[in-house]
C-alpha cells in the first residue's frame, strides 16, 4: 500500500474507532442517519398528488446557491487563500520524497470529499423540494454533487488567485476590481431584464436565471446546465457542461503550479492561517469574522459601571465590526425569509396563510441566528465569570445588545413582509410581538442547553440537543396558539394565535431564565 493510501485508510479507520470510544459522537451519527431516513421517507408516506411547481424555479434556486458558494469560496483567494492542506500535510508530506503531483492529487480528492460532507445539509431539504417540485432522492444527489463540485472549483480558484496575486498588492487590487466588475455584470445580466420588463416579479427573475446564456457562465452556470440536463433528460447538455468543467480543472491546476517556486510557501501560509483559526476554536478562544482593517473610531467605552460595562463594550465591538443596527447574518436571514415569502405568495390562498408560512420559516431560521449573538461569545472568556456582580445581572447585561437587535430585526422583517403580502397593521404587530417573544424563548433555550449539556465535548451534539430542547419548550405554545386561533374565528383568529404564542413564549422564557439565573457562577458549562 502506498503511503498516501495508508494515510487515507488509517484516518478513516480511526474515525470509526473514535465512534466506538465516544458514545456521544456515535449517538449523534445514529440520530443524524435516523433523521435523514425520516426526511427521505416522509414525503413517500404522505405523497402529494397533483401538480408540482415549475422546475425552472428549482434551477434558478440551484444557480443562486451554486453561484453564491462558488464566488464566496473563490473570494478567499484575495485574503488568506484557503488551502487543501493541513499543517500536518505541510510538515510531513511536503518534505517527504513523494512526487508533488501525487500530493496535489491527494489534496484535491480529499477536498472533494470535504465539499460533499459540507453539502450534507442539502439532503435535509428533500421534504420541501419533493413536495414543491417532485424531485426524487437521486435528483437530490445530483443537486448535492453539483454543490460539492462548486465548492471544490471555488477552492481551486481561491488557491490559484492567492498564488498568483499574494506577493503583489497592486496586482491583487486590480484583480479584485475586475472580479467585482464581473460579479456586477453577472448580477446585472440576471436582474436587469426583470427590472426593465416594467413589472418585476419572481417569474421574470426565474426566467432570467434560466436564460440560455446563463449556461455558459463558467463553473456555476455549467453546473446548473448539467443539473438541468440530468433532470430534463438532455444527455448532450450534461456531457458538454461536464466536459467544460473537466477542461477548466485540467487547465487551472497547471496554471496554479506554474505560478512560481513559492507555491509551497503560499500553501504553508494559508495552512498556517487555517491551523491558527482551528486551534483558537479548539482552545475556546473567541473568534469572529472581523473586518481586515478595523476602523477604531472613537476610543474608550465611556459608559457602564458593574455589569453594564459588558453592554457598552458590546456596542464598541459592534461599531468596530461594522455592525450598524443589524449584522450581515441577520440581513441574510431576512433576505432569505422574504424570498421564501415571495415564492409562497403565489401558492397561498390568503394573506394570513402566506403570513403564517412566512412566520414559520422566519422562526425556523431564528433558531440558528439566536445562537450567533455576541453574548454567546462572552461565555467563552473568563471575565463574565470573574466580575464581582450577581450572575443574573451579568446575564441580563450580556444579553441586552442581542435583545435590541432582535426587536429591530422583528420590526424590519414583518413590516416589509406585511407590506408584500397586504397584511393588516394588527397582523403585522402580532407577528412582531410573537417574533420578539420567540427570540427571548430561544435565548432562554440556549442558556438552558448550555446549563444542561454545555459540558459535552461535541458541539454538533450540543447544537442538535439545542434544537430538540427548543422544539419541546415551544411546542405547547404552538398547540395553544392553534387552539386559540381556531376558537377565535376567522376575523380575529390570527391575532389571537399570535397573542397566545407571545404569552406562552414570554412565560416559558422568563421561567427558564430565572431557573438558570446562576449560570454565570461557573464556566464549566463550556467545558473549560
Amino acid at each position: 500500500m502506498t503511503a498516501l493510501a495508508y494515510l487515507v485508510t488509517t484516518a478513516w479507520k480511526n474515525r470509526v474507532r473514535e465512534l466506538r470510544r465516544n458514545p456521544g459522537k456515535l449517538v449523534l451519527v445514529i440520530l443524524f442517519l435516523a433523521l435523514l431516513v425520516f426526511v427521505l421517507l416522509t414525503p413517500r408516506m404522505d405523497p402529494v398528488p397533483g401538480e408540482y411547481r415549475d422546475r425552472s424555479e428549482l434551477y434558478a434556486l440551484a444557480l443562486a446557491l451554486y453561484g453564491t458558494m462558488f464566488l464566496l469560496t473563490a473570494n478567499q483567494g484575495f485574503a488568506a487563500g484557503g488551502s487543501f492542506f493541513t499543517m500536518s500535510d505541510v510538515n510531513l508530506l511536503f518534505v517527504s520524497p513523494l512526487p508533488p503531483k501525487t500530493i496535489m492529487g491527494y489534496g484535491l480528492l480529499r477536498q472533494l470529499g470535504t465539499s460533499l460532507m459540507v453539502g450534507a445539509f442539502l439532503l435535509f431539504q428533500y421534504s420541501w423540494l419533493n413536495q414543491l417540485y417532485g424531485i426524487t432522492p437521486l435528483e437530490l444527489v445530483w443537486i448535492l454533487l453539483g454543490y460539492a463540485l462548486c465548492l471544490f472549483a471555488g477552492q481551486l480558484c481561491a488557491m490559484t488567485l492567492y498564488s498568483r496575486i499574494s506577493g503583489d498588492d497592486a496586482r491583487r487590487k486590480a484583480v479584485k476590481r475586475v472580479y467585482g466588475l464581473v460579479i456586477l455584470a453577472l448580477a446585472a445580466g440576471l436582474v436587469l431584464p426583470s427590472l426593465l420588463s416594467g413589472a418585476p416579479s419572481l417569474a421574470s427573475l426565474v426566467a432570467s436565471a434560466n436564460a440560455p446564456w446563463v449556461r455558459f457562465i463558467p463553473v456555476f452556470g455549467w453546473i446548473q446546465a448539467a443539473l438541468m440536463g440530468t433532470m430534463e433528460g438532455a444527455p448532450l447538455q450534461v456531457l458538454a457542461a461536464l466536459a467544460a468543467m473537466a477542461a477548466f480543472i485540467a487547465a487551472i491546476i497547471p496554471f496554479m503550479l506554474r505560478s512560481g517556486d513559492d507555491f509551497y510557501e503560499d500553501v504553508l501560509q494559508s495552512a498556517e492561517v487555517m491551523t491558527t483559526a482551528i486551534t483558537a476554536k479548539k482552545e475556546g478562544k473567541m473568534t469572529e469574522a472581523v473586518p481586515r482593517n478595523v476602523k477604531k473610531g472613537r476610543l474608550g467605552l465611556g459608559k457602564g459601571w458593574g455589569p453594564s460595562a459588558f453592554y457598552h463594550k458590546h456596542r464598541v465591538e459592534n461599531r468596530r465590526a461594522r455592525v450598524f443596527l443589524l449584522d450581515a447574518v441577520s440581513l441574510i436571514f431576512i433576505a432569505s425569509t422574504l424570498f421564501f415569502v415571495l415564492i409562497m405568495k403565489g401558492t397561498a390562498d390568503t394573506a394570513s396563510e402566506a403570513l403564517i408560512a412566512g412566520f414559520a420559516f422566519a422562526t425556523y431560521m431564528q433558531m440558528f441566528s439566536t445562537a450567533a449573538g455576541r453574548w454567546v461569545k462572552e461565555l467563552l472568556l473568563p471575565y463574565v465569570y470573574l466580575v464581582p456582580s450577581p450572575p443574573f445581572a451579568k446575564l441580563l447585561a450580556i444579553c441586552r445588545e442581542n435583545l435590541e437587535k432582535v426587536c429591530l430585526e422583528a420590526v424590519l422583517l414583518f413590516v416589509i413582509m406585511g407590506l408584500l403580502l397586504g397584511a393588516t397593521p394588527l397582523q403585522i404587530a402580532g407577528c412582531i410581538l410573537a417574533r420578539i417573544s420567540f427570540s427571548l424563548l430561544f435565548m432562554a433555550g440556549n442558556i438552558l442547553t448550555e446549563r444542561l449539556v454545555g459540558s459535552l465535548s461535541s458541539k454538533v451534539l450540543v447544537m442538535f440537543l439545542y434544537m430538540l430542547i427548543l422544539l419541546v419548550v415551544a411546542a405547547p405554545g404552538i398547540v395553544l396558539a392553534i387552539v386559540a386561533g381556531s376558537l377565535a374565528g376567522e376575523a380575529l383568529g390570527f391575532v389571537a394565535a399570535m397573542g397566545v404564542l407571545t404569552a406562552w413564549n414570554l412565560l416559558a422564557g422568563l421561567l427558564i431564565a430565572f431557573l438558570c439565573r446562576n449560570i454565570l457562577n461557573y464556566a464549566e458549562l463550556n467545558n473549560k
Binding site: 482552545e283 475556546g284 478562544k285 473567541m286 473568534t287 469572529e288 472581523v290 478595523v294 477604531k296 476610543l299 474608550g300 467605552l301 457602564g304 459601571w305 458593574g306 455589569p307 460595562a309 459588558f310 457598552h312 463594550k313 464598541v316 465591538e317 468596530r320 465590526a321 472568556l381 473568563p382 471575565y383 465569570y385 470573574l386 466580575v387 464581582p388 456582580s389 450577581p390 457562577n521 461557573y522 464556566a523 464549566e524 473549560k528
Partner: protein
C-alpha cells in the same frame, strides 16, 4: 491569603483533583509543579471559581464564589483572554468599570509602563502578538489591585525579556503583601523566589516543601521533582 481544603474535582469518571489541600499566606509565593495532566490547571480553575468542586476554597477568608472573594482575586489564564475589537487601554477601562474601581486609570497606566505595553495602548487585541496578549491578560488581572493572584502557566509564549519582567513582578506582588500562586511545569522559572512548592501527580500532591533548609534539606527542588515524577517516590 488563599486556603484550599479537601478539594476534589471529577470530569465524569476521571478524578482530576483528589482531596487537595494547600495554603498560601499573605506575602508568599506558592508554586504548583507537575507534569502535563497532573491536575494543576484544574485546581487553578477551581480556585478562580470557574469549575464546580467538592471541598472549600477561601480567598482572603471568604468563599471563592462570594462577590468579595471575586473582587480580591486576579486570575491569569493559560490562554490569553483578549477581546479582538478592544484596544489595550479599553481592556483596562472595561475591567475598571466592570469591577467598579474608580482608580483603575492610575493603576492601568502604571501596569502598561511596568510591562512595556504603553506604546501599544491604542492597538486592538487582534493586532497584538501572543506574548503581548499574555502581557495584556496580566494587566487585566492586576488592574483592580487584587489581594490574591493566581497564574496558570504564565511564562508560555513570553520572550526571555518578558519572562524576566514577569519574575520581577512576582516579587513586587510579594513585597506588597499579595498572595501569589503560580502553576507551571517550567521548574527553572520559579526556583529563585518560591516560598512553598506543591508537586502534583495524578491529581494529588506528591510532595509539599517550604523554601527553607528544614523542609527541603540538601535536595534541590529540581531533583525532588524528578525523583517524584520519574521514580514515583511517595512523599
Amino acid at each position: 491569603m488563599l486556603s484550599v481544603s479537601h478539594v476534589s474535582k471529577r470530569y465524569g469518571k476521571v478524578l482530576a483533583n483528589n482531596d487537595v489541600s494547600l495554603e498560601v499566606r499573605d506575602g508568599e509565593i506558592g508554586v504548583l509543579l507537575g507534569p502535563n495532566g497532573a491536575g494543576k490547571s484544574t485546581l487553578i480553575k477551581c480556585i478562580a471559581g470557574l469549575l464546580r468542586f467538592d471541598g472549600e476554597i477561601l480567598i482572603d477568608g471568604r468563599p471563592n464564589k462570594s462577590l468579595e472573594a471575586k473582587r480580591a482575586l486576579g486570575y491569569i489564564p493559560e490562554i490569553p483572554a483578549v477581546y479582538d475589537l478592544l484596544t489595550v487601554w479599553e481592556h483596562l477601562e472595561f475591567i475598571g468599570r466592570a469591577y467598579q474601581d474608580k482608580d483603575w486609570e492610575t493603576a492601568g497606566q502604571a501596569l502598561l509602563e511596568r510591562l512595556e505595553l504603553a506604546p501599544q495602548r491604542d492597538k486592538l487585541g487582534k493586532e497584538l502578538s501572543k506574548g503581548m496578549q499574555q502581557k495584556l491578560s496580566i494587566c487585566c488581572a492586576l488592574v483592580h489591585r487584587p489581594r490574591v493572584v493566581i497564574f496558570d502557566e504564565p511564562m508560555v509564549g513570553l520572550d526571555p525579556h518578558a519572562i524576566k519582567e514577569l519574575k520581577a513582578l512576582f516579587t513586587e506582588l510579594k513585597a506588597q503583601g499579595c498572595t501569589v500562586l503560580i502553576s507551571t511545569h517550567m521548574l527553572d522559572s520559579v526556583e529563585d523566589f518560591w516560598d512553598v512548592a506543591h508537586i502534583m501527580m495524578h491529581g494529588a500532591f506528591a510532595a509539599t516543601r517550604r523554601n527553607d533548609p528544614a523542609s527541603l534539606g540538601e535536595e534541590s527542588l529540581e531533583s525532588l521533582f524528578f525523583s517524584i515524577t520519574e521514580g514515583g517516590r511517595p512523599q
